[in-house]
Subunit: 554 residues, 2 copies
Amino acid sequence: MTHPLLEKHRATLEGALNAIATRGYWSAYNEMPSPKAYGETAPDDGKKAFEAHLGKAFELGQPGQSGWAGGEQSPYGIDIGTTYPVCDIEALIAAGETAMRGWQKAGADGRAGICLEILDRLNKQSFELAHAVMMTTGQGWMMAFQAGAPHAQDRGLEAVAYAWREQRFVPHETVWEKPQGKNPPLVMKKHFELVGRGVGVVVGCGTFPTWNTYPGLFAALSTGNAVIVKPHSNAILPAAITVRTIRAVLAENGIDPNLVTLAVAGRAETQKLVTHAKVKSVDFTGGNVFGQWLIDNCRQAQVYAELAGVNNIVIDSTDAYKRMLGNLAFTLSLYSGQMCTTSQAILVPAGGIDTEDGHKSFDDVCADLGKAVTGFLSKPEVAHAVLGAIQSSDTLQRIEEAASGKYGTVVLAPQKLENPDFPKAEVRTPVLLACDAGEEAKYMEERFGPISFIVKVADTAAAIALSERIVATHGALTAGVYSTKPEVIEAMTEATWRSKVALSINLTGGVFVNQSAAYSDYHGTGGNPAANASYSDSAFVANRFRVVQRRYHV
Amino acid sequence: MTHPLLEKHRATLEGALNAIATRGYWSAYNEMPSPKAYGETAPDDGKKAFEAHLGKAFELGQPGQSGWAGGEQSPYGIDIGTTYPVCDIEALIAAGETAMRGWQKAGADGRAGICLEILDRLNKQSFELAHAVMMTTGQGWMMAFQAGAPHAQDRGLEAVAYAWREQRFVPHETVWEKPQGKNPPLVMKKHFELVGRGVGVVVGCGTFPTWNTYPGLFAALSTGNAVIVKPHSNAILPAAITVRTIRAVLAENGIDPNLVTLAVAGRAETQKLVTHAKVKSVDFTGGNVFGQWLIDNCRQAQVYAELAGVNNIVIDSTDAYKRMLGNLAFTLSLYSGQMCTTSQAILVPAGGIDTEDGHKSFDDVCADLGKAVTGFLSKPEVAHAVLGAIQSSDTLQRIEEAASGKYGTVVLAPQKLENPDFPKAEVRTPVLLACDAGEEAKYMEERFGPISFIVKVADTAAAIALSERIVATHGALTAGVYSTKPEVIEAMTEATWRSKVALSINLTGGVFVNQSAAYSDYHGTGGNPAANASYSDSAFVANRFRVVQRRYHV
């Protein structure tokens, strides 16, 4: 009954199943962009494959095509000029529904096997995907490679593993035999069919076009659904490459490739798509306005949404002041803070904090964190590798506003850097602002980009209470605490149980609050306003398929 | 780490886990209301315990009590006269939230152990509960015992088993160790805390006050949530007995009993309760109007709803005509069709059907089914045991309307029977109507009660297409087909995959389309308008808790 591709990739699936059960470190896909890992010619081949897309029409062979569209603007200032098929939404939905029949027949094993093959093929395209991610999002090369390719593939595999596990709990059939005392038993044969809910739509974001798309894409796909990928208008290429590979693997395995299609669509067309009666799930990563619109309007669908939040860190005390500052400096700088996990509000007691280096006043902490950021970014090659480029003009404008003092006292002003490799790239160093806890309008909404606040709070207890309130009311994907006192860590831990946010404690080494590792770290809890779902857990997959039974006397 | 009550009931939990994995026959609780199974004095003790509630105030010791309310009218015409505490909703919610802290600390094992103990204690009260169910709902004694007590307890245990399985997938803690080439590995200790989403409300129905309440109640409870049970205004007693027992077991085990409370509330108060910001899940069984209101308005909560539908059966042909008619007659008669699973529309080709007894015209089928019902109910003791009494005046009125010919040609008129044991009981035999497939207004909405339609359809293919459309647009919990032709059964099977409804094929023996057995039959698929969730599956439990992690360097 099992599928040859499941056998081929069984060790990978079993590795993932073990990893989600133990939540230790594991990865199926090498995160080093090295020829040793990916083959001598892989870096060059990938770069050429990426360059071959530039200025060209990206053929996908989808139904209902009416024209071509493109217009991605690279934050690095290169010309992309790729165009993509524009297809009638009704045609994509109808074709997806039709394709679901054969996909249902493939069963959970067949679907898992084919998804594993897709991920393996995407992994072989990691350099091509990494260039596409880097040039559309402005990420630095290393992040674009890691988050854009192997880490995204890991998150996709994670969803496949959860989906397979849940589907495999349902037996194909059973004999139900109920004793009737001295009479013959009642005997029924029963069959249980796994059926996808219907066409799924995955709406991507502009900053992580694969990492935030693959979980929903592979969760919906491996549970038996057709998927229409609606990428952000400025990060289409990584999605298009992904969709083309998926379609190729599907076709090779006798599955109608229209099971997975790309929808290049504006806002109005997207709204039509996601509210379509035949669309049964919507995965979304992005801002609160459209996210809330989806939740309010897509009543015919399950909506899995990752929205904005106000990530925060409470600093009470530390015995590793320099390393704490270094850890924070990296977090605030990485991809210029354009991550949904970057800390925005750093809550520091008005009376300052105790450190192994003596007491530091609130102003000391502000100044020292500013210096740590400046020091960390002092070498241009480090700065460019870490910062990347600013993805959108909205973010550039927010940085300017922050620099003007509009949101708080400027502790560290942003600098515009010139990237010698990409003269047109918009590069900015982080802005640090200081404000009082009472000035909530300043810091208590997401200001996406390299803009962070050091918020002066009465004391540690007030900081913990504020953190809890921020998370409960505005949401957060990450929270942190620095303290040498067990009772403070315990109080913060209990606050995060109530507000439901993942907590990083005393990070001073090579792990950062804004990083979440597949199979081990839940990305989002799904329990606060920043996200109603988590990557990944059973709830992320279990409601994407239904069981339809039939029974008869034997 | 495990809990003594989990050890005490481990065999029961393991039985349930095995049953949901294999979906064969299994039950934890004896369905025979016999002294042999429940103890020599159990029937008498249970009856006395029930009678002791009549005309009394039912003390629960809940917070915020402002008075007493009652007013249940027995369909059997006895005087109930029990009153129940009326409590301030804000007080119940606040007390539930407070109680959740200790419940969280109990962990998945502790919660499962205590839930298993609760179910065991409820099982020992089966006779008391059965009398309460019978007298509030109008069910016959045997159904009241089975569905009201052991079968309801099985559905509760089923939810506990799913919840335990999903929660146990999440390890308490892990060490995450990521190799760093020649450098020392990155090592993080991580803890994973299971946290309930928040206060759950379970809104019960008037016909199955335990069977339809226990799944949501035990799913929410065992995943770490407080639960407020809001029973139907005419079936409070079974819920009150349940809540009292739960509170007693909680208190015995050091858990704040206010974790589970009873809310006796009218419509406006209920609406306030279910839309309260602190209420995070709502389980509901009942009509479409209030169900849709819940889905539209309880935006702060997960809503698990079982609503109305139009259950239907396609009759193409049979090789067991008499037994088919006998099976249908039982289904239509049981509890006077007041089940969410009773067939309402029986789709028969205009040209009639082939049987082992020769061809039967459409009119033959109508007449023969009418005779089968009449014959089945010809003995008064059988009739009363099977029919029970009519639960609501709305249903009585619908029966009258149906008898008047308003909804179709009367094939079998309802009869009013006198129950010698309960002279005030409202007893009616089923109404059978005939109409054409085109007369959709007549049969294509739920007419709750003993009202069924034999619908004349062009042919079998049209009947299957109509069945699919009914399910997809109006919903259904059950569908059936009778045919001797494999291709018809296959076509019907595929139709039910698309419309997502459970299918019973050629039922002629001691299993009926309106019955669903815990651990084996999914009650509802959650994939058509009759219900957005199923009893039970992973999706029914997995999103009722969240995982909150914390991590630090080692």
